[in-house]
């Protein structure tokens, strides 16, 4: 395989978890809920995915376990912020801290164990084509899923009634409530969807990106996904563009290292974080001029009056 194809494949693999987590969080935020616990849900997905695949030998079961773990974490968050109306920022932080701790405890016995890798697609004939073959027809199934998911989310949000309801709840929960929409129910489902996606993103890390368990292996990707949603002005297709850009930055750092640019490895490793900050700065500056694109009720508590 040519180095070019290798690099493109690595970029796609590095970007997919960002895309999955970003699209999930986008739906959550579109419904007006800010869940800062993406990192925690993601790392739980990673440990659950690895563990389930390690025990059963089936990466498919690993994927399902990862989704379930993320959803369960999101359920805790939904109960606290939507039923008990706790502070969303603080609760999201709590979710991240708990997820990092709990995954470390659960994964203690998995450290150093060989992982189960999610197989890449192999379509006879097509996957063997030069360049196009491995890139277009030879990815693992979750890459296709992440792209399909983004398109579906984009369609549902902007072209269906369900999407209209989600956006209405996120932009004006009082009006949505007055129209008979159950704000809490819509938000709960949106939060759970975000959790499922974050869990899947974590599972992708431990099943496809680096098939092993390392403590804190999400390494801030959950936070980068959060930044991605802001960067994308809450639009799914832009999340996809952003995810691939961010993924590319991380991979190019490693490429530069391999080529031997003489730049310290730590500097290259810090690039994704620095680029995230810069991206936030650029996008915030431009939205300041145009007005915020964020859902109007983002982060605001809602208690239905009866």
């Amino acid at each position: 395989m040519s180095p070019f194809v290798e690099v493109v494949l690595t970029i796609i693999t590095a970007s997919t978890p960002l895309l999955l987590a970003g699209v999930g969080e986008l739906v959550t935020e579109r419904s007006g809920v800010l869940n800062l616990g993406v990192e925690g849900m993601m790392v739980m997905g990673a440990v659950a995915g690895f563990g389930a695949a390690f025990v059963t030998g089936s990466p498919a079961i690993g994927v399902i376990a990862a989704i379930l773990a993320g959803t369960m974490m999101a359920a805790i968050f939904a109960f606290l912020t939507l039923k008990l109306v706790s502070n969303q920022v603080a609760t999201g932080l709590a979710l991240t801290l708990l997820g990092l701790g709990l995954s470390g405890l659960i994964g203690d016995n998995f450290v150093g164990q060989p992982g189960v890798k999610l197989a890449r697609l192999a379509i006879p004939g097509l996957s063997d084509l030069p360049i196009v073959g491995p890139i277009v027809f030879g990815e693992d199934p979750l890459v296709y899923l992440s792209i399909a998911l983004t398109i579906i989310v984009s369609h549902v949000l902007f072209s269906t009634r369900a999407g209209l309801v989600i956006r209405a709840v996120g932009d004006s929960h009082a009006s949505a409530h007055a129209l008979g929409v159950s704000v809490v129910q819509v938000r709960t489902l949106s939060v759970l969807f975000g959790g499922a996606c974050a869990g899947l993103a974590g599972g992708y890390l431990s099943l496809a990106y680096t098939p092993q368990w390392i403590e804190n292996m999400t390494a801030g990707r959950g936070w980068i996904a959060l930044a991605l949603v802001v960067f994308a002005s809450w639009r799914p297709m832009r999340v996809m563009v952003g995810a691939y850009l961010f993924g590319a930055v991380g991979v190019l750092g490693f490429v530069a290292q391999a080529v031997g640019l003489g730049v310290p490895a730590q500097f290259l490793s810090s690039l994704p974080y620095i680029v995230t900050v810069l991206a936030l700065v650029v996008i915030s500056k431009s939205t300041r001029a145009r007005g915020s694109q964020a859902p109007a009720c983002l982060g605001q508590p809602f208690v239905p009056d009866r």
């Binding site: 039923k83 008990l84 801290l97 701790g101 159950s182 801030g220 810090s270 620095i274 936030l280």
Partner: protein, 365 residues
């Protein structure tokens, strides 16, 4: 079909009783959950709780360790409490701690022969400056461009840790250190003095003083009033002529500076050497400390001691039962959840009822 309904009924005013009781209930719930976790890990639950939460308090030696562990938590959380009160979300204290440690360590690393009482004083001051400067970055970005301070301050944690990693493996590595990623060891006036024969260093005093001073600031000064107004009613604050921009800068300089001080105290105190990893997540645990202490700098002292117990208990349980020391972080995370859940009781009465689901119940099933 019946349906569990939880309804929140707003209290006419905030419950003073619940404001005090909520953290206590939260601690209680964490302990009960601890029983379940110990049972799941195959440890006799009550013995587990004893080793974890009581034994660290039973002898003089471990009480010393408790004070040493609590001091960075108190120092950082006191600053965070003020920041969160102002509705400024600095969650990058871990990074500010790291840069504070780096700045302070520059003296022993670069001017190794300088030994005078002024050495440690300048180290501490540099620590504060380093932390404050690192905190200033997200603050300025927020003020100048509107970039979300939660995300930028958090991203800078990773950058700070990688910077430290590079320094101790590269330019700042001890040339006689057999290639270990470590700086030179700090000696004499490059370390914080200790009390008598104990291990308790002056950083512990600084932590308590800082918390008390911020307690006075919050209750007795105009700045404290400004913080509270900007946190609860920013529009009213704007009419009063308070500047939200200045508040963001102030909150970050204060909390960043204290985190930086905690960082250099950790290195000049128990650490005595700069290594790739210098903190077991004090900057993040301090977030929990701030909430457990009711975002009140004085309450933070008690909360810091409580969280320090979980660190020590983690070590004890590790050696007694072989439980992973990661259990401590699970307890810490759970505690924050329970606090946040219990805090609902301050503003709301909770009405739990089982009732029949009817068609009108609006899709409840």
């Amino acid at each position: 079909m019946t349906d569990l309904r939880i309804d929140l009924i707003k209290r006419p005013e905030q419950s003073k009783v619940m404001a005090v009781a909520s953290p206590l209930i939260a601690v209680g719930l964490t302990l009960v959950t601890g029983l379940i976790i110990f049972a799941a890990l195959g440890v006799p639950p009550l013995k587990g709780l004893w080793v974890y939460f009581i034994e660290p308090l039973t002898n003089a030696w471990s009480l010393e360790k408790l004070a040493i562990k609590a001091s960075p938590l108190i120092m950082i959380a006191a600053g965070l409490a003020v920041s969160y009160r102002a509705n400024v979300w600095n969650i990058g204290a871990e990074g500010q701690l790291t840069i504070g440690a780096l700045f302070g360590s520059a003296i022993p690393v670069l001017f190794n022969s300088w030994q005078s009482p002024l050495t440690i004083v300048s180290m501490l001051i540099l620590g504060i400056i380093g932390g404050a400067l690192w905190g200033l970055i997200p603050a300025l970005l927020k003020v100048k461009t509107g970039a979300n301070e939660i995300l930028t301050s958090l991203m800078l944690v990773y950058v700070a840790q990688l910077l430290l990693d590079w320094l101790v493996r590269g330019p700042w590595r001890d040339p006689h250190g057999h290639n270990f990623p470590m700086s030179v060891a700090f000696t004499d006036w490059q370390k914080l003095p200790v009390f008598g024969t104990t291990d308790i260093h002056y950083g512990v005093v600084l932590a308590v003083l800082a918390a008390l001073a911020l307690g006075v600031l919050m209750t007795k000064t105009l700045t404290g009033f400004e913080v509270r107004v900007m946190g609860t009613a920013p529009r009213a604050g704007a009419f009063a002529g308070f500047s939200p921009q200045r508040m963001v800068i102030f909150a970050f300089l204060l909390s960043g500076g204290l985190a930086g001080l905690a960082g250099i105290c950790e290195i000049a105190g128990p650490g005595e050497i700069l290594q790739p990893v210098i903190s077991p997540g004090y900057g993040f645990t301090a977030i929990i400390v701030a909430f457990l202490g009711r975002l009140n700098p004085v309450g933070v002292i008690v909360a810091g001691l409580a969280l320090a117990v979980s660190y020590l208990g983690g070590e004890e349980a590790h050696s007694a039962f072989g439980i992973s020391d990661k259990a401590a972080r699970v307890f810490q995370g759970l505690l924050l959840f329970y606090i946040l859940a219990c805090d609902t009781l301050i503003l709301y009465r909770i009405d739990i009822s089982w009732r029949r689901a009817t068609a009108q119940a609006g899709g409840a099933e």
